[in-house]
């Protein structure tokens, strides 16, 4: 690589023409990004490529490379009813959780974004569950969903309704998870909405008030339009988070997949395939397939994120 004698003023030399040590020849800007790039390539890019690569092998235990099986894992996956069932469960969970998590987050933010008594308490109540680890959430909700002495069923019987088998009925298995999840994570969307509401300039409301706009008209003509970008972002982030569900389900049902496997999400299927049945190659095929789906949704997120907002 004898490019040091390039005719153009090469960045590799000082103005005096002396040669610099090799590390000084890397542009300073690149040096700034280098530490991050090391982590990024080692722990994100490499596993991504390696999942695809592994999916063509019949790897049974880690560490020992299995034999090349071509598309066999992929062919098996598309005919795997357990995979499709868990895929369906994941979509069902996403459908159950996204609307309430977005709408409730917005409602909570609208309710508490004004001067009111005990505002700190209301804000803390809505956000606090988000700070709990999934294991704490699971322990609490297993306790709440108990038959007889569980708080949920006790409340139902007190108001004259019948008890429900929250964690034992296949039809309810995912609904119970959804309830616990909405309680647990709505605080994040609430916070995003609250921050967005505080960015809306007061003069828009003043103008609307002068025009005699009531509460409902101010909401419809000022607040909601100003929140459109945030709502787009919240919806996409929520869909992505819901598709990746694993922790609370695994912990609520202690890895059983719930009654009749009715609450086994796709990530739990990947987990079982890899770490219970030790089929790493096959698990990688499912991961890669699921990965493709998530990337498609994320592309929308990225567009929303990257778009330049109206400058205020």
């Amino acid at each position: 690589m004898a490019t040091i004698t390039a005719p153009t003023p090469a960045p590799a030399t000082t103005p005096a023409g002396r040669r610099l040590p090799p590390w000084r020849r890397v542009p300073a800007g690149l040096l700034f990004t280098l530490p991050f790039l090391v982590f990024y390539v080692a722990f994100l890019v490499w596993p991504t490529l390696s999942a695809l690569y592994l999916s063509f092998f019949n790897e049974s235990l880690t560490g020992t490379r299995g034999e090349w099986v071509g598309l066999a894992n992929w062919a098996e996956m598309f005919g795997d009813s357990a995979m499709w069932a868990s895929f369906g469960n994941t979509l069902y969970f996403t459908l159950l959780t996204t609307p309430p998590l977005v709408v409730l987050g917005l409602v909570m933010a609208l309710l508490t974004n004004r001067a009111m008594p005990l505002r700190w308490l209301w804000r803390m109540s809505f956000f606090a569950p988000f700070l709990l680890p999934a294991s704490v959430v699971a322990l609490i909700w297993i306790w709440l969903f108990q038959p007889g002495f569980g708080l949920v069923n006790d409340t139902l019987t007190r108001i004259g309704l019948a008890e429900l088998g929250w964690l034992t009925e296949p039809e309810l298995a995912m609904v119970s998870v959804a309830i616990a999840t909405v309680w647990w994570t709505v605080g994040f969307n609430y916070l995003l909405y609250l921050a967005a509401l505080q960015q809306i300039p007061q003069h828009l409301y003043d103008a609307a008030a002068i025009d005699g706009a009531g509460w409902w008209q101010r909401l419809r003509s000022v607040t909601l339009p100003m929140l459109r970008r945030t709502t787009g972002l919240v919806i996409v982030l929520q869909i992505l988070a819901s598709l990746r569900v694993f922790d609370q389900i695994y912990l609520l049902y202690q890895g059983t997949g719930g009654p009749g496997f009715a609450a086994r999400p796709i990530l739990e299927h990947v987990y079982t395939t890899a770490f219970t049945n030790f089929r790493f190659g096959y698990a990688s095929a499912i991961s890669t397939f699921f990965f493709a789906l998530i990337v498609a949704v994320s592309a929308v997120q990225l567009k929303l994120f990257a778009r330049k907002g109206p400058d205020r």
Binding site: P27, G29, Y40, A42, S50, L132, L139, L144, R229
Partner: protein, 286 residues
């Protein structure tokens, strides 16, 4: 700083009625949201014999610390707390340093291929880490890092979204200040440390706080990466509680309360900062 959109003074009864109605609805939702936490704490203070009474009662003649004492003696709670702290502090520090440096590189310096490298990093925002656990485990095994702190810490540092957020924030800092520093002969490194970073406190706070919360509560990856009970973090350790305590509900709830408490206490101190930094950083898409 008044950040609230205060309603016009309640001059007539309709506004007052609206405000009262809003307050009542807020209080009802808040009660629903607090009830699970209060019930968990309530159970934790009861003697084991009184936890499964039907119909249930909120009051007990015999409230006791017993379940907490037993939990402390029988579980590894303090050890888990220490492990969680090591992992969360380690990840947060490494994320702040590497992401801020990278963001500065992308926002303020010029080098050949910068656009391509940045696009390469931004594409990573789309990669869901939970989907990578199988190859990542394979990699950790090859590196001999399974069952170490490193296995839990290193993969969580690769957070391209944080680079993206910080870069966006740095882009908004006016160039005049660093021009002045540059005229004075400051190096890129000094401009980064002494000009850009001090101006970016709200963004760094937001990135730091959320990295810390997400790492502290992360379950899936640490659960796979570590099986040594002495290395378990709080979420992983607590996952073993349900099976080992069986029907001792007061003790299970005492563990849940202890496991959730550290971040709740931290939140009380950071409450104001959290919302403000999200607003300043444009995390909410505004």
């Amino acid at each position: 700083m008044t950040t609230t959109t205060a309603p016009p003074p309640a001059t007539h009864w309709a506004t007052r009625a609206w405000n009262a109605a809003g307050l009542i609805v807020t209080a009802i939702i808040a009660l629903l949201w607090l009830a699970p936490l209060l019930w968990a704490a309530n159970t934790a203070f009861k003697p084991e014999g009184e936890t499964t009474l039907i119909p249930l009662t909120w009051w007990s003649e015999n409230f006791t610390w017993e379940a907490f004492e037993k939990t402390f003696i029988q579980s590894n709670m303090l050890r888990w707390f220490l492990n969680s702290t090591v992992v969360a502090v380690g990840v947060t520090a490494l994320v702040l340093i590497t992401a801020a440096m990278a963001a500065y590189g992308f926002s303020r310096t010029r080098f050949r291929g910068k656009g391509a490298v940045f696009a390469f990093v931004v594409a990573g925002v789309m990669v869901p880490p939970q989907v990578l656990v199988v190859p990542l485990y394979d990699e950790m095994l090859a590196l001999g890092l399974v069952d170490t702190y490193w296995a839990m810490i290193l993969p969580q540092v690769a957070a391209p979204v944080m680079v993206f957020i910080l870069k966006k924030f740095f882009d908004g800092i006016p160039h005049e200040l660093e021009e002045a520093a540059r005229v004075d002969g400051a190096s890129q490194w000094r401009i980064f440390w002494q000009v850009v970073l001090p101006l970016s406190r709200p963004a760094l706070a937001a990135v730091g706080i959320f990295t810390f919360i997400f790492t502290w509560n992360n379950f899936f990856w640490p659960f796979l990466a570590v099986s040594d009970p002495d290395l378990m973090t709080i979420p992983v350790g607590l996952a073993t509680i349900q099976s080992s305590y069986g029907l001792r509900y007061a003790q299970i709830m005492a563990s849940a309360v202890l496991g959730g408490l550290p971040l709740l206490i931290a939140y009380v101190f950071f409450q104001r900062n959290i919302i403000r930094s999200i607003a300043h950083t444009g995390l909410s898409g505004t």
